[in-house]
């Protein structure tokens, strides 16, 4: 199975820990792709975001999820943390 060049993973990791850079990336992803030295093919596969494209590029599964969440959040203008996936259970889980 392919493993993406570290520059791809480094970009995603940096975006995750730097909200200012993530905001900039949302406005102009191409600038970050250039800055991190991604080849056109790498940027295209990352942008496609499909399982097949990410697999071809070899993006780490956890970083795929983070990247897709980041793109979705910037697309929706939504916050990264949305409705809780555990809401239906929390009353019973939190009961001491």
């Amino acid at each position: 199975m392919a493993v993406a060049p570290y520059r791809v993973h480094r970009l995603i990791q940096d975006l995750m820990r730097n909200p200012a850079e993530a905001a900039q990336f949302a406005k102009d992803p191409a600038a970050d792709y250039r800055r991190y030295g991604l080849a056109d093919r790498e940027a295209r596969l990352l942008e496609a975001g499909s399982l097949e494209a990410m697999t071809e590029l070899g993006v780490h599964p956890n970083l795929q999820m983070k990247f897709l969440r980041l793109r979705k959040a910037s697309g929706d203008g939504a916050k990264l943390v949305g409705a809780g996936p555990l809401d239906a259970y929390l009353d019973r889980l939190l009961e001491p």
């Binding site: 990791q13 399982l51 780490h60 599964p61 259970y89 929390l90 889980l93 001491p96």
Partner: protein
């Protein structure tokens, strides 16, 4: 000497019940049954083993085995698990690190870590009041080169030796391995659930034959149960801490809607 009173293996997250309400309820009841088991066992300390989802660790420095040595832990609040804080046990954790180093395991000590849902959800299930000191022990199955199943199992045995040789009389330690069961996450095959392999794992563990699974290679487990299924190495660590103790399946559900097999086992040490 202290005592390992038991081992638990459990999945480490749930998802919304939409469309599978009855099955989700069975999973929740399984989780609550795990909680009841902890109440019966009355541990003084929990060793909570499992993986980080590239939140505290990443590919810049690929940490595979690490232990939280700080006095308390504030969780991340991701995955829908409310952020909370729970006490650790520095003396135990640092002592175990030194003991492990004399037995061929170098654990990375963590003074700063914010457990993500992989630790925080099981912690909520096990101890909702956050009253039982708990030490996160990271077994990062998501790293490109994870520790082997056999080595995780053996680390469990080292933990047992530490507790029996160096911990105070009457200390009751519960070991919990979290994650799994089978799932293929963002790789070809996503959506599969390997019900038969999950059953094989559960049956081996509750029969006191965890070594049978620990003999498999990383690649064999990934092939059989997916990249996410490899999280079962944390279950092997827990099982390694109770020798050949037998136990019970608390629940199992193959949940295609959540693209995963969900389950829990409890292995109880002989008195």
């Amino acid at each position: 000497m202290g005592k390992i009173i038991g081992a638990i293996g459990m999945s480490h997250i749930m998802f919304p019940p939409d469309g599978i309400e009855e099955q989700a309820e069975r999973v929740l009841q399984g989780m609550l049954a795990v909680r009841n088991k902890v109440r019966e066992l009355k541990p003084d300390l929990i060793i909570l083993a499992g993986g980080d989802h590239l939140n505290n660790f990443n590919l810049a420095v690929q940490v595979t085995l690490a232990i939280g040595v700080c006095d308390s832990f504030a969780t991340m609040g991701d995955g829908g698990v409310p952020a909370s804080e729970f006490p650790g046990n520095r003396v135990f954790a640092e002592g175990f690190t030194r003991f492990a180093a004399r037995h061929d395991f170098e654990l990375v000590q963590l003074e700063e870590v914010r457990p993500d849902h992989g630790m925080a959800f099981p912690k909520l299930v096990l101890d909702p009041a956050n009253s039982i000191p708990t030490i996160p022990l990271y077994i990062n199955a998501a790293m490109p080169v994870p520790p082997s199943p056999a080595r995780c199992h053996r680390l469990g045995a080292v933990l047992r030796d530490y507790v029996e040789q160096q911990r105070p009389q009457e200390e009751r330690v519960l070991v919990v391995g979290t994650g799994g069961l089978s799932h293929w996450l963002r790789v070809p095959g996503e959506g599969r659930v390997a019900e038969e392999f999950d059953a094989e794992v559960i049956n081996a563990l509750i029969s006191g034959e965890s070594e049978r699974i620990a003999r498999l290679s990383t690649e064999e487990i990934v092939e059989a149960s997916g990249n996410g299924g490899l999280e079962v190495i944390a279950w092997l660590f827990a099982a390694g801490a109770v020798r050949h103790a037998q136990g019970e399946k608390i629940y199992y559900e193959a949940v295609p809607a959540w693209i995963t097999g969900m389950g829990a086992v409890a292995l109880l040490a002989d008195d």
